[in-house]
Symmetry: C2
Subunit: 260 residues, 2 copies
Amino acid sequence: MRIGIFDSGVGGLTVLAAIRARLPGADLLYLGDTARVPYGGRGAKTVKQYALECAQWLVDQGCDHLVIACNTASAYGAEAVRTACSPLPVTGVVLAGAASAAAAAHSKGPILVLATRGTVSSQAYLRALNETLPGRQIRQRACPLFVPLVEEGWPPGVVLDGVIDHYLSDLLQPTPAALILGCTHYPVLKDHLAARLPEGLAIIDSSEAVAQSLYRMYPDARSGAGRTRLCFTDDPEASRAAIQTIYPAGLHGADQIQLA
Amino acid sequence: MRIGIFDSGVGGLTVLAAIRARLPGADLLYLGDTARVPYGGRGAKTVKQYALECAQWLVDQGCDHLVIACNTASAYGAEAVRTACSPLPVTGVVLAGAASAAAAAHSKGPILVLATRGTVSSQAYLRALNETLPGRQIRQRACPLFVPLVEEGWPPGVVLDGVIDHYLSDLLQPTPAALILGCTHYPVLKDHLAARLPEGLAIIDSSEAVAQSLYRMYPDARSGAGRTRLCFTDDPEASRAAIQTIYPAGLHGADQIQLA
C-alpha cells in the first residue's frame, strides 16, 4: 500500500508526520511543489491546474491513495483531482478538518477558520461546515504572516503575540466553539495560539484529522516498516531551513523531480 | 521605444512607477510572474530558468530594453538573460543599486543589504559592491517577513517595529554608511526603517537607481505620452489587494498571459 501526499511546499510535512505516526506500515511518497509555492494567494484556475499536475505525478509513481495536504489545493482542486484520478481514493484536508470540527464543537458558538487568502476566498470550509454543522456561524480569517513566522522559526515575544492578536482579537466574541487550523503550517503555532485563546476552545489540526481517517481505512498498515520518500519540484537545499523546522528527518534523501 | 520590465510578482511595480515618472514618453510593458511568485526562497537554477522565460516573452512582444525588476532574478539570472537576449540592453536592479550605494556612501562604515533569502545566498550584491567599493565591509540580512507586511499594508505599531528591530538591531554597530533595499517591496517600508536607523544613513532604493540609469540613456523619452501595459501569469484579481497597495493605477486593464 503506497500513499501519495502532495502539498504546495514543505507545510504538508506535518500531514506526512501525522500519517507516519498512525500507519508505520504504509509506504509514503511526498511531493512538495516548492518551485511554485505558495498556492495560498493564487487564482482558482491556477491552483486547480497545479493540483492536477501533482496528483498525476503521484499516480504515475503507482500510489494507491492520494492525500491533498495543502488546504488551498484541497479547496480549489479536490473535485477535479477526484474526477481525474477516479477510482483512486482521494482525501483532502478541508473535508477531514471540517468533519473533525463538527465532532469537537461541544458548544453552540461559531467555528473559526484560520487559513490562507486562497482557502478563505474559495469558501471551501464554509461549504463543508454548512453540511456537517448546518446553520452554525462560521468566521474565517486569512493570516498571511503565519507562514513566514513558522518557516523562520520565530521565538515567542511581542511580534508573535502582536500578529496573533491582530488576526484574532475581533473573532473571540461570542465565544467560539472550535478553531480550525486551515493551513498546514499553522499547527506549529498551536501552543502560542492556545495561550491567547479562551480555555477549552477545541483547536482542530487538519493533519491529525487526515491521519485518523486513513488509520480507520487501513488497519493492515498500523504496524510494519513502510518506506518514506520525499520529492520536491525545486532544489530541496533551498528549503533546508524550513524542512528542518517542520520535519527534521525529511532532509535525508530528498529528491528534486520535474512535473510534466 | 518600448521598455520591458519583469518581476516575480507585483513588487516590481515600484520600479515601473519610478521609470514612468522619469520617462513619460516610453512605452512600458510589465510582466509579473504571479503564478510562481515569490522567487526569493527558490534555488538558483529554478530562478534562472524563470528569468529566461520572462525575458523571452518580453522580447517576443518587441521590447527594445529589458529591466529585471526582481532582485532575486537579477542576482541569479541577469547574466543568462544578457547572453540570451544579446544585443538587447538589460538593466538589473542589483548592479544599479550597488552603483547608487557606492555614490551615496560618504562615510567609511559598512554597507548593509536587506533582501530575500535567495538574493542574500546568491551574494550578487556582495560581488557588485566588491567592484564599486573594493575592501568595504558588506553586511547582508534576509528579511522574509517584510514582503507579507507590505502586501497586507500593516499599520505602524509594535509588530512592524519589532520585526524591523529583530532584523536590524545587530547590524547598527559600527555605524553603517548606506543601506540597500534589495527587494522591490521594501521601499514601501522606507519611512518606518528610517525612523529606526541612525540619522543621515543613506537608504538606497534600487527602483530609483534603475530609473535614473534609464533617464540618462533615453533623453528622447523624457517627455511624451507613452503607454503602460501590465501582464501577469496568474489572474490579476488574485493580486488585487497587493497591486492596490503598491501601484493603484495598475488594476485597470491588467491582462493574464501564459509563458511558453
